[in-house]
């Protein structure tokens, strides 16, 4: 049977196989993706990001269990870094999610970043669509342990959760640009540790400094993922954020932006490949690169010339 039909009929191996094909840029994935696309668009996409060791995997494990109590199906995409040298990776997020393995209402997939920056993998968009068409109600995406600027998740998720923990840096960290700006919900995990009040206060102070009036004020939640404390409240906050987006009409706007971001990424990859790998264009690209190396031309002029050569559009 056709891969897409098998997925729509609930075949888990077909889901896994198509995700691999998308990850490997297998051209045959495209047919299945085209057939699945009309069946997608229903899932609530939740991004979870935060520094390494903040407890993202454990938190996601507990959240998924909490959603299972409501009989919601949960897809999880867990991204870990690939080695920039060998391309290899240790994908270890499932260690914290062992009990979910045999729950047929949960599908977990680990991914390496495979050279993609921004805290995600290039195939995350495809995996999201596949799990969405597979019928998952909630799709939780765990980014790599994020530093300050891995903010791509915010452009793919409806709801972005930033997980912090007590004792990481001072309040200057909270007013820096980047990751602190993308949270729809802030979580202070490991809330049984010393310094939880201070972390919470610093986050609150940061949010209070927001100059523009916002319709949604990101809540700051305390959790102890290990014991499950605060998980139900967090689940309620996620659902409240979705309800808010729907009520104020932002749901469609967010969807538009999400889809636009995914489409642009796809185009960017295709265009880059068209210029640097397409057999007709690669020699031109390589020759131009060599001229830049020899200092015969500067990269800006080279880019102009190359674009003029490749397109009929006048610059």
């Amino acid at each position: 049977m056709e891969l897409a039909q098998r997925i729509l009929k609930g075949d888990r191996r077909a889901v896994a196989r198509l995700i691999s094909m998308a990850e490997n840029f297998d051209p045959q994935a495209q047919d299945a993706m085209r057939l699945l696309h009309p069946h997608s668009g229903r899932a609530h996409i939740v991004g979870v990001t935060g520094p390494p060791g903040a407890g993202k995997s454990t938190l996601i494990d507990r959240l998924a269990k909490s959603y299972r109590l409501l009989n919601k199906k949960v897809g999880i995409i867990a991204v870990d870094p690939s080695s920039p040298f060998t391309g290899g990776a240790i994908l270890g997020d499932r260690i914290r999610m062992s009990d979910l393995n045999t729950d047929s209402g949960v599908f977990i997939r680990s991914m390496g970043t495979r050279g993609h920056l921004g805290g995600l993998s290039r195939a995350v968009c495809d995996a999201m669509l596949i799990l969405d068409a597979f019928g998952m109600d909630i799709i939780i995406i765990e980014t790599v342990g994020a530093g300050q600027s891995e903010v791509e998740i915010a452009s793919l998720a409806h709801t972005t959760i930033l997980v912090e923990m007590p004792g990481l840096g001072d309040d200057i960290q909270t007013i820096k640009a980047g990751i602190m700006e993308i949270g729809d919900i802030f979580v202070v995990n490991k809330a049984d540790r010393q310094g939880v009040e201070r972390t919470e206060m610093e986050l609150k102070a940061m949010l209070d400094l927001d100059s523009e009036e916002k319709a949604w004020t990101p809540p700051i939640m305390r959790t102890i993922a290990n014991s499950g404390e605060g998980i139900t409240a967090l689940r309620d906050a996620i659902d409240a954020h979705r309800a808010h987006l729907v009520a104020c009409g932002d749901w469609n706007l967010v969807n538009h932006d999400r889809i636009r971001a995914g489409f642009m990424a796809l185009l960017r990859n295709r265009l880059t490949a068209f210029i640097t790998e397409n057999p007709g264009n690669k020699p031109i690209f390589d020759a131009m690169t060599a001229r830049i190396v020899r200092r015969e031309i500067d990269p800006y002029t080279a880019a102009d010339e190359l674009m003029a050569k490749l397109t009929s559009i006048k610059h």
Partner: protein, 130 residues
Amino acid sequence: MSERKIRVLIAKPGLDGHDRGAKIVARALRDAGMEVIYTGLHQTPEQIVETAIQEDVDFIGLSCLSGAHMTLFPRVMGLLRENGVEDIIVTGGGIIPEEDIPKLREAGISAIFGPGTPLEDIIEYHRKAK
């Protein structure tokens, strides 16, 4: 543009707390450019097989130092067949007596890597078998 990556699940079935070897193998395969899914200790055969399916792995490496390999390894093989995913190649490692190896091979385990196996051999095996 298409690039195939070897994916390996390294799993520790049963009640066995010794994961040093499993971690070293995982690290070696990582350094050889493979994607290694490591699931930690105390996995049931059911969990291992379901993880292998969801992660679409080419290989499962089972590590067992508890002496229960004659029960656990064939059980994993049985579940793979039940789920129609017997094309996944399964290898084993740990403390496995010589005399058990033929029986494990018969059960469908493709290779046994005992203590002292050079990591290069394990890497080569995964590269060649795919």
